[in-house]
Symmetry: C2
C-alpha cells in the first residue's frame, strides 16, 4: 500500500512536492522526520509532537531490539500503539548505530562533530552480519539483514530500511567498495526476507553506499534503481555532503521517494530539497533543546556569530519577548525568553520540553514554508527568509 506520488516538479532544481501514502496517513514532502530513538521523542509527549504539526516519527531498531525487544512491541500491538502515535512511522535498520557506535567514529564524522571517545562495541563483521556488544548488558548480539527486517516487521513502522554496512569515511576506497558490495548482497537478503512476509503495509528503502567515491556511489545507485525498492536513503558525510547529495540526486530513479539519513541543519535541508531529497531526519531539534538552545530564523538571532538562540545566556534574563516573534507554537504563545532562561537556571526539565516544542514546530514551519514556496517554484524566497 505505501506509495510515493509526485505532485509538482520544480523547473529550477531537482526539488519536488510529493506525498507518501501509508496505512497511517499521508506524509506531505519535503518533510522532516522527528527522532523517537527509544520509542519516544525525548522530553515531549506524542500529543505535543502532533500539536507542533509533525507528520512522521522515526524509531531506532538498534535501541529497541536491545530494549524492550521487538517481540514485546509486537505483543503490545506494534510500534504505533506502543508509543501512542497513530500517524506514519519510520524505522532505520540498526546498521548505522551498530557501525557508528562500533567504529566510534562514523557518527561524529558524518555529523561533523569533534572526535568523541567511546567504547568500541563492534566485535566483528562477517558475510552473515555484524556482531556487537549490547550497550545495556554487554551481551554479544548478532544483527543480520534477515533479523533487521524481521525486527522492523515486528515493530511495524510504515517505512523501513535495508540493513547495510555503514563504512567510515576515512577508510580506503577498497574497503568502501567491499562494504558497498556487501551492502548490496545484504540488501538482496533484506528484500528476500521482506517479500516473503510482506503484508503490503510497509515500504522498504535501499541505502545508497559508496562513500565519497563517485563510481562506487553510481554502482550503489544503479543497484537500488534496478531492484524493487520503493525508495532510497543516503548515508552522507558532511564535509562533502553537498557534492555527494547532488550527484546521487541526479542518478537516482526520480520516480522514487528519497530520504537523506541523519541530516537536519536548515541550510542542509534547503540544499537537500534542491537535490531532490524528500525527507530528512536528525536528533538535533530536541537534543539542542535539552541544552537550552532554540532554533530561529537567522534574522531573529541577536548577532551573526550565533547559529541558534542559546537561552541559557544571561542576555535573556529580562527578555520578555517570545523565543521567536513569528512562531505560533505553544511555547512562543505562552512563555517569554526570560521565563525559559529562569527554568534553565533552576535546572527544571520543563525548559527542555518547552524549547523542544518550539524547535519541533520550527522544523515543521520550515518544511511548510518550503512546500508552500515550492508549489509556486519560489524556493529561493523561503531560503532567503530562513537563512539570511
Amino acid at each position: 500500500m505505501p506509495e510515493f506520488e509526485i505532485l509538482f516538479q520544480s523547473k529550477k532544481s531537482e526539488a519536488r512536492l510529493g506525498r507518501i501514502h501509508t496505512p497511517h496517513g499521508i506524509v506531505e514532502t519535503p518533510a522532516f522526520i522527528f527522532c523517537g530513538t527509544k520509542a519516544n521523542v525525548k522530553g515531549v509527549t506524542m500529543s505535543q509532537v502532533e500539536e507542533a504539526g509533525s507528520q512522521i516519527v522515526l524509531a531506532n531498531t538498534y535501541h529497541l531490539m536491545l530494549q524492550p525487544g521487538s517481540q514485546l512491541i509486537r505483543d503490545a500491538g506494534g510500534l504505533h500503539k506502543f508509543v501512542g502515535w497513530n500517524k506514519p512511522m519510520f524505522t532505520d535498520s540498526g546498521g548505522f548505530q551498530v557501525f557508528s557506535l562500533g567504529h566510534s567514529s562514523v557518527a561524529s564524522e558524518i555529523k561533523g562533530a569533534r572526535q568523541i571517545e567511546s567504547k568500541k562495541t563492534l566485535l566483528k563483521i562477517t558475510e552473515n552480519g555484524a556482531q556487537f556488544k549490547s550497550y545495556i548488558d554487554g551481551k554479544t548480539v548478532m544483527l543480520t539483514p534477515e533479523l533487521s527486517i524481521k525486527i522492523q516487521m515486528d515493530l511495524g513502522a510504515d517505512i523501513i530500511v535495508c540493513f547495510d554496512e555503514c563504512a567510515p569515511y576515512h577508510t580506503s576506497k577498497l574497503y568502501t567498495a567491499c562494504a558497498m558490495e556487501r551492502s548490496k548482497r545484504w540488501a538482496n537478503r533484506c528484500l528476500k526476507t521482506f517479500k516473503s512476509q510482506d503484508d503490503g503495509k510497509q515500504m522498504l528503502l535501499a541505502v545508497i553506499q559508496g562513500g565519497i567515491y563517485e563510481d562506487l556511489r553510481e554502482e550503489s545507485v544503479r543497484f537500488a534503481n534496478e531492484n524493487n525498492f520503493i525508495g532510497g536513503s543516503l548515508g552522507a558525510t558532511r564535509s562533502q555532503m553537498y557534492e555527494v547529495v547532488e550527484m546521487i540526486g541526479k542518478m537516482l530513479d526520480r520516480t522514487r521517494y528519497v530520504h537523506l539519513l541523519g541530516i537536519g541543519g536548515i541550510e542542509d535541508i534547503f540544499n537537500g530539497v534542491k537535490c531532490g531529497m524528500d525527507t530528512f531526519d536528525c536528533v538535533s531539534p530536541t537534543r539542542i533543546a535539552r541544552h537550552g538552545v532554540a532554533i530561529v530564523k537567522k534574522k531573529h538571532l541577536p548577532d551573526n556569530k550565533q547559529k541558534h538562540l542559546n537561552l541559557s545566556k544571561s542576555i535573556f534574563e529580562q527578555d520578555f519577548s517570545a523565543i521567536s516573534p513569528d512562531c505560533d507554537c505553544y511555547t512562543c504563545k505562552n512563555f517569554s525568553r526570560a521565563y525559559i532562561h529562569h527554568l534553565i537556571k533552576a535546572k527544571e526539565i520543563l525548559a527542555g520540553t518547552l524549547i523542544s516544542i518550539h524547535n519541533i514546530r520550527t522544523m515543521n514551519r520550515l518544511m511548510e514554508d518550503i512546500r508552500a514556496h515550492l508549489a509556486k517554484d519560489t524556493l529561493e524566497i523561503a531560503q532567503k527568509e530562513w537563512c539570511v
Copy 2:
C-alpha cells in the same frame, strides 16, 4: 474581590462544599492545589496541568525571591503571565522553607519522612524576621513579614499567606509558645503591609501555629478568627495531625476558607475534608511520578503491601494495561504500564511526565469524587471507593 462561599454543609461531619472566588476564576472546594515550586509544575506544561482538570497552582515565595526575583516576575506582568497559567494561584509566605531548610528537620518531621541530612541555612531569628543563607549563591538574605507580603504582592497570586515562624515539633512547649506569639506579631505586620497596598485582588491567609499543644493552637485560632483574614492555613505534624486538624477544624471560624498546608495523602485528604478543610497541597503527585510511582485506588494495586504503583518494577514489563483501568487521563488513554516501564528503564524523562499527568489527574478525580459525593452527603462512599 476574593471571597469564600459555602454551598453545602454535611450533616455527618465538618465537611463542606464551597467556592473560592478570585480574579482568575473560581476554585470549587474541596480542592487540591498543585505545587509549582520554582514557577513550574515539575516535568509538565501548564496546559497539561490544565487538561488534567486542575483548578489552582501554588508557587513558592522562598524559591522565587531568590531566583528569578519577585521584581522580575512583576516586570514580566506577574506570576500568572510569567508561568503561563491564567487560573487561580496561591503563594506561601516563604516561612516554611526558611525554617524547614534552616532547621533541616521541620519538613521531614511534618512529612513523616526519615531524617535527611542537609545543611542548616537558617542563620538567626529576630523579632524583625529570619536571616538565612541563599541555597543558590550562599548570600545572606533577611526575610521579614513586610518583605514576604511585598514579594507576594509583586508575584500577584490570588491567595497569599502570612509570614510565620514554623517551629519544629520536637521543641519545648515554651519555644512553641514563643514562636506562636511571634507569629501573631508577624501576622499583624503582614496584615498592616497588605492593607496599605491592597488592591482587592488578593486574599491573605493567617497561619495557625501552636504545635501539638491544644491551648496554644486555641490561642492561635482565636487570633486568626478575631482578625480580618479571609482564611487560614494549618501547619500540621503528621504523627498527631489527625487530632490537631480535628481540634482546629472545630475551633476555626467556619465561615472562612481553610487550607491544610503540605498534606496530600489520599486518606489524609479524606480526614481533612471531614474536619472542614477546604484545600490541600503537596509536592508528592509529581515528585513520586519522577521516581516511577503512580497513584491509583487501593483496589487497583497488585497487592496490599504497596501504597502506590511502582512502575519501575519488572512485574510491569509485559503489562499492556493502562496505569489505572478507570482513569481518563492522557497517559491512561494512550499508554500501557509496559511502555512506561520501558521508558523508566531507558531513563527517559518522558516517564516522569506521563506519570505526573496521571497523578495530577488522579488527585483531581479524587477531589471531583469527594465533591460529587459530598453534594449527596455520602462522603463515606467515596472514601471506600478510594481507600479500600
